[in-house]
């Protein structure tokens, strides 16, 4: 089905169109949700909540934008909301112990495959994991992250730096990095 037709039918509440839209984006979005959570089950929960929001807010989608990007944003927002709601994540959302996680400005080249890399990112505390994902992978501006996570923008910067350093340290410990002399640093 043509995407415009799918959207039109979705707005009318047609189940078939909704399923078509879901089928189109579900796998990618589950990958996204998996990056933000600590378990596959949680990722599926986020995906489900996210798609319900997608369908219930579809009338707010402006057709001139990229639908995939719009759905992605909803998924990220839903994931953050999910992390804030659940106690096991909530504790880790505010980790800010500078001594524990020193900042590094290295730019190692990662020699992991995607799955291994994701699993490594998921070892980060939930707050670091979320901030890192939002900045490094999903390209959120810091101001928006601050707004989403109810943080000061400086806290966001700080969290990202520590998340990044922690990730590089883990990668190094596992001998999964190739240090390159990248010019650009954070």
């Amino acid at each position: 089905m043509d995407q415009e037709l799918i959207l039109e039918q979705c707005l009318k509440g047609k189940k078939e169109a909704q399923q078509a839209l879901y089928d189109q984006y579900a796998a990618t979005m589950l990958g996204l949700c998996y990056r933000y959570t600590k378990s596959y089950e949680d990722a599926e929960d986020v995906l489900q909540d996210g798609f319900i929001k997608v369908f219930t807010h579809l009338h707010q989608y402006k057709k001139d934008g990229d639908l995939g990007a719009w759905i992605r944003r909803i998924m990220v927002n839903t994931a953050i909301s999910y992390l804030n709601r659940h106690r096991r994540y909530k504790k880790e959302m505010t980790v800010d112990d500078i001594s524990m996680h020193p900042v590094s400005d290295e730019n190692p080249e990662v020699s992991l495959d995607t799955k291994e890399l994701i699993e490594t990112i998921r070892k980060l505390p939930a707050g670091y994991q979320a901030v890192f994902n939002m900045i490094a992978v999903d390209g959120y501006p810091q101001t928006e992250i601050a707004e989403l996570m109810d943080m000061n923008i400086n806290t966001v910067r700080s969290q990202y730096s520590r998340a990044r350093s922690m990730l590089i340290r883990i990668l190094k410990e596992n001998n999964r990095t190739v240090i390159k002399d990248y010019e650009g640093t954070f």
Binding site: G31, I52, T56, V110
Partner: protein
């Protein structure tokens, strides 16, 4: 902020995907289409309302008016057919008598079956035969005026006095008297012709046989009354206007919290009431119902966004409700009402505005988040069916005015679009006036 490390990571992770389990879609589907259960309710209500209507109609048909006592065997169709004058052919000379032993009304006038070729019965449809069976009060036996006797064995005496033994001499006096009686009552006339056996034909002129409890004149009156009922002038038509206030208006399953809601409805139309007896009634009608409301949803805990929606809906509304009169003998009556309703929302205009609190709300509900920023409204229209139940109380003032207060709850979603489904409960006040009360005038006494 992004360096080569981030770009390296992004390249690897951006398109990472995992196959979701089928249960996820099932969960989404369940959340998005909860009204499938409601559809079941609709299909329960439709036949239920149909049954109520049919039952009420049937009851009214048979009990609304006092019908004259019709012969037990009569039906409307047989009554109408019985207007045709039945024919009795009496032979001049007969000797045979009826079957004494028979107790059957029709059979009592028949000669014994062993009398060869003595009798021929006019083969009328059973229902017509029954309708034309009249009781003779003199000897409590039946006479079948449609029976056509063509042999000498059948006589007026065997017809009218089947007690006579076969072959015995008829009681001439009795026969003559009865014939005279029938003639005097215009029940029988002697025609100026004879049949092939030389028998005179006697024809029942008016069907007024002696001793009949119900004459055909009465029957015709009954038919006329029933015909009038068919025209639908029975019952009471009421002009009705009303207004309602939304008591609760539940969102489903959008976003998070409950919401504030305000709304008013207006309605006007006519109701039709069937009175079964002094206490029970059934009422239905057709009303135009206008509903307007405004609601504000709970806020999104991440973005502090919330939705404000306004809705204007027009619907055609068919209530079906039964009423019980608490004080049937009082001049001003109090009724208890209980029923259901079906509505077709034929025009529904809604507008959704997404707003956002500038700062985090301090309470779990709207209104505490400081100033808001509004996005442009999203508008749409819709039409669909709706079913509901309602109950209430009605005060009837001297058959002139009625005031009712009822509570209504929609059983099916008042659905605007794919986003929101709502149910409403409202209290509404109706004022009705019998339409015939507008035309009641004292008529001058009819001159004799």
């Amino acid at each position: 902020m992004k360096g080569p490390f981030e770009e390296n990571i992004e390249q690897q992770l951006k398109q990472f995907s995992l196959p979701p389990s089928p249960q996820i879609w099932q969960g989404i589907e369940k959340a998005l289409h909860p009204h499938r259960k409601d559809m079941g309710l609709i299909w329960w209500w439709v036949p239920l309302l149909g049954l109520l209507l049919a039952g009420g109609g049937w009851w009214a048909w048979y009990h609304l008016y006092d019908q004259p006592a019709l012969p037990k065997t009569s039906t409307v169709s047989s009554i109408s057919r019985s207007n045709a004058v039945p024919r009795v052919t009496l032979p001049e000379h007969t000797t045979a008598g009826g079957d004494k032993s028979s107790n059957s009304e029709d059979r009592s006038i028949l000669p014994p079956p062993e009398q060869k070729g003595s009798y021929q019965h006019n083969p009328l449809p059973a229902i017509l035969k029954l309708s034309n069976t009249h009781h003779n009060t003199e000897n409590k036996k039946s006479v079948h005026p449609d029976a056509v006797y063509t042999t000498k064995n059948a006589t007026p005496d065997t017809m009218l006095f089947p007690d006579n033994e076969a072959g015995s001499q008829p009681d001439n006096n009795r026969t003559t008297n009865l014939k005279d009686t029938l003639k005097n009552k215009n029940a029988l006339v002697v025609k100026d012709k004879q049949d092939q056996f030389g028998q005179s034909e006697y024809t029942s002129q008016t069907n007024k046989t002696t001793g009949n409890k119900t004459s055909h004149q009465d029957t015709l009156t009954a038919v006329k009354k029933i015909s009038l009922k068919k025209t639908g002038i029975s019952g009471i038509w009421l002009g009705t206007v009303g207004t309602g206030i939304l008591q609760s208006y539940n969102s489903f399953p959008v976003v998070t919290a409950q919401q504030t809601k305000t709304g008013v409805s207006l309605e006007a139309g006519i109701n039709y009431r069937l009175l079964f007896n002094s206490q029970w009634m059934l009422e239905t009608g057709l009303l135009y119902h206008y509903l307007q409301n405004k609601q504000v949803t709970g806020y999104d805990s991440v973005n502090y966004k919330f939705m404000q929606e306004t809705n204007h809906a027009s619907m055609l509304y068919i209530p079906v409700e039964s009423g019980y009169t608490i004080n049937p003998h009082a001049s001003s009556k109090v009724h208890i009402l209980l029923g259901g309703s079906a509505a077709w929302i034929f025009s529904e205009q809604w507008a959704t505005t997404v707003k956002k609190y500038a700062t985090a709300p301090t309470t779990s509900f709207t209104g505490a988040g400081g100033p808001t920023v509004s996005a442009p409204a999203v508008q749409g229209s819709n039409n669909h069916l709706l079913a509901g139940i309602h109950a209430g109380i009605m005060y009837q003032l001297h058959d002139q005015f009625e005031i009712s207060l009822e509570s209504e709850r929609t059983m099916t979603a008042f659905q605007k679009n794919a986003i929101s489904r709502y149910y409403w409960q409202q209290w509404y006040l109706q004022i009705s006036k019998p339409l015939n009360s507008f035309f009641r005038k004292s008529k001058p006494a009819k001159q004799q």
